[in-house]
Structures are given as structure tokens and as C-alpha cells.
């Protein structure tokens, strides 16, 4: 407008730069806040379990549009959408095993319902689902662990004898009985939560936890001799003889 008046033009440019800086700073601060909030909201309480086919939490939140279609197609009303104010990221689907566990439908209707693939469409066999991992978390209250026979978590397991087995160990309290220890196997446990739901205790001694919470890692360098032997079909040191380590008898100390 005032291209002939250099003064006015300078002021305009200054004004423009000032305004741009303000806008940039304001929006930048907003963006940082949004980023920090989204980062802190990424954490999921361990009692909240994602539907079958959901990937790691960080991937899931980049894929889930929070539409609720999986919730609608869940025939057992297991899944629900997090409401604002709950600890689960708002609008995302989850279930609480102690309330309503996953019934492990053969056709997994929640997965094809997902429009974005946040629930992986490649999951077609529900036994391959890994929603979490059941852990016998409290040895002090589990009835089986006390030497009684409850077995309920074992009996209700949809993958019985694979995901949960009863391992017999000696009862050191009575010194003559056995303990039938419910033992979860991560190769087969889908994390459906039926064991947690049906634990007869007031508060469940077995709980489904996220894998990263539930699993240890043995370390890649670690070799288990009996497994290596199984793999090879024979002893790894067969034919090499047994090392004869030098024997040393205790020698009396000689007082100086």
C-alpha cells in the first residue's frame, strides 16, 4: 500500500516479523505441550488390557483412531472405550480381566472391525493373540501354593495344559504332600484373563500383565546345557572325556 514511503514499509516489516514471531512461539509452545501431554498419556495402567491384535502401546496409539468399532463388535461387551478422566488414553479400547475377560472368539470379530489396522488383520487364529501374559503374582495367597487344591485358574484356561500347567513340587511345610503349582507358559498364554477373572481369592493372585512387565530376558549369550544337548541330540562334550581336575587335599596351616 505504502510502497513509496520507506518508513511505513519498515514498520510494516517489523510488525510482520513481530507478529510472526509471536504466532510461531505461541504455536510452538502449544506443540511442545501437546507432545509432552501425549507422551505422558502413553502409559497404560497394568490392569487395562488391549484387544487382540493390538501392537505395542506406542504403535497402537499411532494407529487407533478411537472410533469404538471394535467395542461395538465385541459380542461379550468385554471391550470398552476409555472415558475422559480414566487412566487409559481417552477413547481407546481396553478391558479389565477381573471384570470381563476376553472370551477368545474363534472369528475374533473385533479385529476385522478395526478400520485402520490398529488391531492387526493378520491375526486370524485367536490362540496367536498376545494381549498380555498371566502371572501367578502372589505366592503367599494362591491356594494351590499353600498346598490346597484349587486349580480354578488351570481349569478355566482356554488353552489348558499348554498355557497353564500344574507343576508338582514338594510341600516343604508338611514334608510329605505335593504342591500343584499353576505355571504359565508364555508360548501359549494369550492374555485373555479368564484365570484372573475366576481366581477364587478376594483379590486375584494370578493377573494378566503387559509382556514387558511380566517377562524376564535370559540374555543371548546364556546357553542351557540340557537344551543344547536336546538340540544336538547328544552331549556337547561327548567323546571329549571328562576333565580330571586336579585334586587338592586340605593342608594344615603351618604356624610361623
Amino acid at each position: 500500500m505504502n510502497s513509496k514511503d520507506p518508513k511505513a514499509k519498515g514498520v510494516n516489516r517489523r510488525q510482520f516479523l513481530a507478529d510472526s514471531a509471536k504466532a510461531a512461539c505461541g504455536v510452538g509452545a502449544f506443540g511442545l505441550g501437546l507432545g509432552l501431554y501425549s507422551n505422558s498419556a502413553k502409559s497404560l495402567p497394568s490392569s487395562a488390557i488391549r484387544p487382540p491384535g493390538a501392537g505395542a502401546e506406542a504403535d497402537f496409539l499411532g494407529a487407533c483412531v478411537r472410533c469404538g468399532l471394535c467395542v461395538r463388535d465385541c459380542p461379550y461387551d468385554t471391550l470398552k472405550l476409555a472415558k475422559l478422566g480414566e487412566k487409559v488414553p481417552v477413547g481407546t479400547p481396553y478391558f479389565v480381566a477381573r471384570e470381563v475377560p476376553c472370551e477368545m472368539c474363534d472369528d475374533i470379530p473385533c479385529v476385522p472391525a478395526c478400520p485402520t489396522g490398529a488391531l492387526d488383520p493378520k491375526l486370524t487364529n485367536i490362540d496367536d493373540a498376545r494381549m498380555g501374559l498371566a502371572v501367578l503374582i502372589d505366592h503367599e495367597t494362591c491356594l494351590n501354593f499353600l498346598g490346597l487344591r484349587c486349580d480354578v485358574c488351570y481349569r478355566v484356561c482356554p488353552v489348558i495344559d499348554k498355557a497353564i500347567t500344574l507343576d508338582i513340587i514338594a510341600n516343604t511345610r508338611t514334608k510329605k504332600h505335593a504342591i500343584f503349582l499353576p505355571t504359565v507358559h508364555s508360548d501359549h498364554c494369550t492374555g485373555c484373563g479368564k484365570c484372573e477373572r475366576s481366581c477364587v481369592l478376594e483379590t486375584s493372585a494370578i493377573r494378566v500383565l503387559p509382556h514387558e512387565v511380566a517377562k524376564g530376558a535370559i540374555g543371548k549369550h546364556y546357553k542351557l546345557g540340557w537344551k543344547e544337548k536336546e538340540k544336538k541330540g547328544e552331549s556337547l562334550i561327548k567323546g571329549q572325556g571328562i576333565f580330571d581336575m586336579p585334586d587338592r587335599l586340605p593342608t594344615p596351616r603351618i604356624a610361623k
Binding site: V27, G31, G68, D73
Partner: protein
């Protein structure tokens, strides 16, 4: 300065009757209620017309629809999106290219009811002043939603988006979502006039970009009849879009409102006593031809 104590559209009521002076407003409210009802019929009656929410839905177990802004964020977050959602978003984009991007804002979005009530309250209470943001802020906010999505790997706007917060709350259960909606209401009522929808909302900004190509437009087709009552400016949520079309005759600018910020709410059509505005297409050259012929006649005379 517009005196906000007066009621815009009075002349139109006298001139055209109450019904015609509220026609598009009524249609719009009906549309907003119907769109919400479509989602609510299922949860209430068990007969499912539409499943899901505004972020993604499935109509009659057949038609997928997905919010393109949400999908683009997911793309930026690095997710490999399944075809259903992509098809859904393409259908939505095509629909809004035809009917005007921000038609979503005024005919579908449930937050519009909230901010319209806030603006009405602002007028009735004659509240003035407050913070004014640049109308371009929303585009920056939109860019930020994409950048932060890329940086965090999270569809970031869906953590705070009041549109889907409200919509989801109505369909799946309220929680404390009312607080977020109340915040938007109070913001528009006391802090910033038309602050949310017309200045900050990145969803509206995104639909605005889609609407750049929109087929459906409002045109100041009888702009020569304008009596400068300013009622259209008073009711318009984006009054800056009116001027080029309404006052552009001298500058050889066509009468069609081409700015993508126009929400196609049609309220200007309602409140105009001399019936300057009407819905038409962006290719409508009727008025230009008419103006030319008038000019030709004047020249001949």
C-alpha cells in the same frame, strides 16, 4: 463497528417472514441433530444404522467413513493404514469437495452447537473484547498436530479433540468430557469471539483445505441489491469471506464466495432482506452474465 445489541435479520423477518429468515438455520440444526441421532439410534435401540464415531464409522455394515485429518495424523505417526480407513477417508474427502469442506463444521460437527450457543450468549449479554487470534492460527495448529504426531508416533489431536471427545461421550459414555466441552463454551463466551471454530480448530482448518476445491458455494448473486445493512457480517462466523464477493463488483471479482473458510451455513441467505445470497456452484456465472448485460445496456443507452 457493528452494534451487537440489535438482532441481525429483523429486516429479513419483516420482509420475507420468520420462516424464510430462519430457513437455513433450522435446516442446519436439523442436520446436526440428525447426524448425531444416526450414531445414537444403535446404542439406544439396538438397531444399528451407524456404528462408531466421527473419527471413523461404519454405516449399515457397509459404508466406511473416516475423518481425513485423523488419518493423515496416523500417516505422520508412521502407521501402515488398512484399506478400509483409506477408502473411508477418500469417500469423506470426495463428499466435502462436492459440498464444501467446512460444511462439516456447520452441518455435522456437534461442537458447532456449543460454540453457536456461546456466540448467541455473547451477543445477548453484549460481551465485547477479549483475546483475538489471527484467523490463520488454525492452520498453524493443524500443522502442529501433524508435526507432533510425527515426532511422538501418536495420533495426537485425538487426545484433546473436543469434537470427538463430545461425540464419543454422547455415544459411549460421558466421563468428564463435559468439562472439555464446557471449557470450549466458556472460551467462546468470555475469552474470544468465535474463538474456537473460526480461529483455532485444526479439524475445521483441515476441512477448509479440502473445501478449497468445493463445488457448492454461497454466492452474493444479487449483490447490486445490497443495502449495506451489515446483517450478513453480524451473523457470519467468518465475515472476512463475504467482502470480496459482495463488494467485488468494481474490482471485477465474481459474486461467488470462494474463500475456503466459508462454512456454507447459509445464515447470510436467511438474514438478508433483499435476498442477495443463494447457494449455487462455483461454476455459476449467472450474475456475471447479468452484470455484463446490464453494463452493455447502459453502454448502449
Amino acid at each position: 463497528m457493528i452494534d451487537r445489541s440489535y438482532t441481525p435479520g429483523k429486516d429479513a423477518i419483516v420482509e420475507n417472514g420468520w420462516y424464510r429468515a430462519h430457513k437455513w438455520l433450522i435446516a442446519r440444526r436439523l442436520s446436526q441433530v440428525i447426524f448425531l441421532a444416526l450414531f445414537l439410534v444403535g446404542p439406544i435401540t439396538g438397531y444399528w444404522l451407524v456404528k462408531g464415531t466421527l473419527s471413523s464409522s461404519l454405516t449399515f455394515d457397509f459404508l466406511p467413513l473416516t475423518d481425513p485429518h485423523v488419518l493423515v495424523q496416523s500417516l505422520f505417526a508412521g502407521h501402515d493404514i488398512k484399506t478400509d480407513a483409506i477408502i473411508g477417508a477418500v469417500i469423506v474427502v470426495v463428499a466435502y469437495v462436492l459440498f464444501g469442506g467446512r460444511t462439516y463444521c456447520s452441518w455435522v460437527c456437534p461442537i458447532n452447537l456449543v460454540t453457536d450457543v456461546a456466540n448467541w450468549g455473547r451477543q445477548k449479554l453484549q460481551l465485547k473484547g477479549g483475546v483475538q487470534f489471527s484467523r490463520k492460527t488454525r492452520y498453524w495448529v493443524m500443522a502442529v498436530t501433524l508435526i507432533v504426531s510425527a515426532a511422538t508416533g501418536v495420533i495426537v489431536w485425538e487426545m484433546v479433540n473436543p469434537i470427538t471427545l463430545l461425540h464419543r461421550a454422547l455415544i459411549f459414555g460421558m466421563g468428564v468430557a463435559w468439562a472439555a466441552v464446557l471449557a470450549v463454551f466458556l472460551f467462546d463466551l468470555f475469552v474470544s469471539r468465535r474463538g474456537w471454530c473460526s480461529h483455532l480448530c485444526p479439524v475445521g482448518a483441515f476441512y477448509g483445505l479440502i473445501g478449497k476445491l468445493s463445488f457448492l458455494r454461497v454466492s452474493a448473486v444479487k449483490r447490486s441489491a445490497c443495502n449495506n445493512c451489515m446483517d450478513c457480517y453480524a451473523v457470519c462466523p467468518e465475515p472476512q469471506v463475504i467482502t470480496p464477493a459482495l463488494k467485488g463488483a468494481d474490482k471485477n471479482v465474481g459474486p461467488i464466495i470462494t474463500a475456503s473458510e466459508c462454512t456454507n451455513c447459509g445464515r447470510c441467505i436467511d438474514v438478508c432482506a433483499p435476498d442477495v445470497f443463494k447457494f449455487t456452484t462455483r461454476f455459476d456465472t449467472g450474475e456475471v452474465e447479468a452484470e455484463k448485460s446490464v453494463a452493455a445496456m447502459e453502454e448502449a443507452a
